[in-house]
Point group: C2
Chain length 387, copies 2
């Protein structure tokens, strides 16, 4: 039986655009529409809006406006970071070793794979513990004279675990190695300050924090060598050509300001909902476990494994009840195999097919949580009885 | 003295979003907001809108929906075409020779440069005639056993010349060589049918035809080998990862349908305005000439060279009169050197610094043309007197 209102509990996959963001973007479709590289009035009007958006973001991140490059997505930002640095070092023959983790988002994981398979880079994939955490000492051990880049996500999209970024950053800086982090899941949930985090490159995506789809950014610390991964005209100083999506940049800046302003109260609210979800599910469903770290995790993120139950079947069961959830990562759905990330954490295969991710946000309240707690045990139980 | 209304005559740089397109995108910000790869209701609702947009475009281009990949720009589409094919052949060791022209947009020109300089591809840059046209026979002559790709723009952003694409396409198909065309300037101005054009890859950008900035597409003929140029999750079949900008895709499809429906009447209208501009300028300004082909040119595009006058100075002069124009290419402004394209056409340097591009569109009428004809001779004359 369908609930009267559909429940969206998949905020790590994407979020609705905040109406205040839609409003902020409105003038940039048909009124202030110039190409920001044009030297005439229409172009300069657009350029001014673009630079104001860039400054807003720089103020929030505590960096220089010139260190922000707008991209079309978090994925593209990660690609620019990895390919940009890799090719810059390749061109100058100064090393080709990359250190990363086995549980990165595919935007990083598959880019590193391609750099390795197609272009001959060497890759060390660090081990993670049972919660998916990297040990900073392992980073120190893995760094070699030819290491050009370390890439460790700020927090996991699949299991919510937050990494010890500042500690890894300190090690990288001491050793003179560049450090990139995919912070796509962290915006609006953790304080993002590249300087404090010790990162040289940091990727964000607007649609993960109530901004529009189709716009992301890469923070690039000044003096970091970067070969453009997309080549063309002069937009973004030639580091990311293609006419800039000014409406999108304004939308990203507005959304980031809003989630940052509201972060303390919203995170406290979501943490309560999350903890009620976790406690309720573990208490009511036998053979269930939390995946990822119990405390070092994103405030909106609850993820579970259920012995012998396919994650995608749970998602379908919830969808039939009007509840939108995800089987781990939104970007790799439709595969019934064990989730590689869960196998990496050391879960046995019969546990690793049963990943369920519930990610909370603006659209959720206590009633939604109680509704999930009402229906989920029955779904799991029915699926187990069908085996 | 400023005209009462600002005149925008730079439609090749970008266009305002058609209000009907803004309206078509509206539901996809905060209502139908799902990630099109999510398997639940919200995701499938978004996926359905995305696939409908893709089908609309396929119907217009006369191709299969599965042959359309959404990107964030025409630049990115060109990059995907060139890098995607180049790396696919590189991986399989089946040739590394690329044929292109010296007057491509930087999205193609600089990408070919990077493939040559960084990855060791061999490049033949065809000569063009005084109008910027490629001779198809030269393509036939340049093709070698190791040629993997020919890339020739459909029409020039700088000089408006339309290339003999179908003839080049026929040669490439006979010789079994893939053919890419940057058609960014052609949408809404020429009939775009990849099959008739004989092209295997074709790039478009929404903001050039009254769609939003931040979205483009690449047509890729089925069975064309393509390594993703951006790597990540499963969006667009893994060929272009990153959460799809559904609002943007709907906007692109809506804009393409509108400009295609209105193309016959609008092109006839713009051709009249264009020819009046050309005739008036050449008649009233001494030592002025049309650049690009007199008849085989885009219906909205008028471009000129003025002996001894810097293009950027003309643009500033017009801007002070409330008229927005461009000095050749919007993507390479701010450089007072002779335009490389004009030098390539054989113009002497003292002619090549004086490029002015006036590109017409929805925002223009006869009054605008007369206003340009009123003020431009005085601007050129004043600039010449200052030398």
């Amino acid at each position: 039986m369908m609930s009267a209102r559909r429940i969206y509990m998949d905020h790590s996959a994407t979020t609705p655009v905040d109406p205040r963001v839609v409003e902020a973007m409105a003038p940039y479709w048909s009124e202030v529409f110039g190409n920001s590289e044009s030297s005439h009035f229409f172009g300069q009007e657009a350029a001014s809006a673009l630079e104001q958006a860039r400054q807003t973001i720089a103020d929030i991140l505590g960096c220089q406006a010139s260190e922000i490059i707008f991209t079309a997505s978090g994925t593209e930002a990660d690609n620019l970071a990895l390919r940009g640095v890799a090719w810059a070092f390749w061109r100058s023959g100064r090393g080709s070793h990359i250190i990363t983790t086995p549980i990165e988002h595919p935007a990083v994981g598959r880019t590193v794979d391609q750099l390795q398979e197609l272009f001959g880079f060497e890759v060390t994939r660090l081990r993670v513990d049972g919660y998916g955490r990297v040990n900073p000492d392992d980073v120190a051990t893995a760094i070699r004279p030819d290491t050009i880049l370390v890439s460790v996500m700020t927090a996991s999209n699949e299991i919510g675990t937050v990494q010890p970024i500042a500690e890894i950053g300190r090690i990288c800086r001491e050793r003179g190695v560049l450090f990139h982090t995919d912070a796509v899941q962290a915006a609006g949930r953790l304080l993002l300050n590249p300087e404090d985090m010790g990162v040289d490159l940091l990727a964000l995506s607007a649609h993960k924090f109530y901004g529009p789809k189709g716009v992301g950014l890469l923070y690039v610390r000044r003096a970091v060598p970067l070969v453009p991964a997309i080549t063309g005209g002069e937009h973004e100083g030639g580091r990311r050509p293609g006419t800039v999506n000014v409406a999108g940049a304004v939308g990203l800046a507005t959304a980031l300001r809003l989630v940052e302003d509201e972060r303390p109260s919203e995170c406290a609210r979501l943490t309560r909902l999350r903890d009620r979800l976790i406690e309720g599910i573990l208490a009511s469903i036998p053979d269930s476990r939390l995946t990822g770290h119990p405390t070092e995790r994103l405030c909106h993120h609850a993820s579970f494994a259920f012995l012998g139950v396919e994650g995608e079947a749970v998602v379908i069961g919830l969808d039939l009840e009007g509840i939108a959830a995800s089987a781990g990562a939104a970007c790799a759905e439709g595969e019934p195999e064990p989730a590689p990330t869960l196998l990496t954490l050391g879960l046995p295969p019969e546990w690793s097919i049963g990943s369920l991710r519930l990610t909370l946000g603006h659209l959720n309240n206590e009633e939604d949580v109680e509704r999930v707690l009402d229906v989920l045990p029955g779904i799991i139980s029915r699926l187990r009885s069908l085996r």
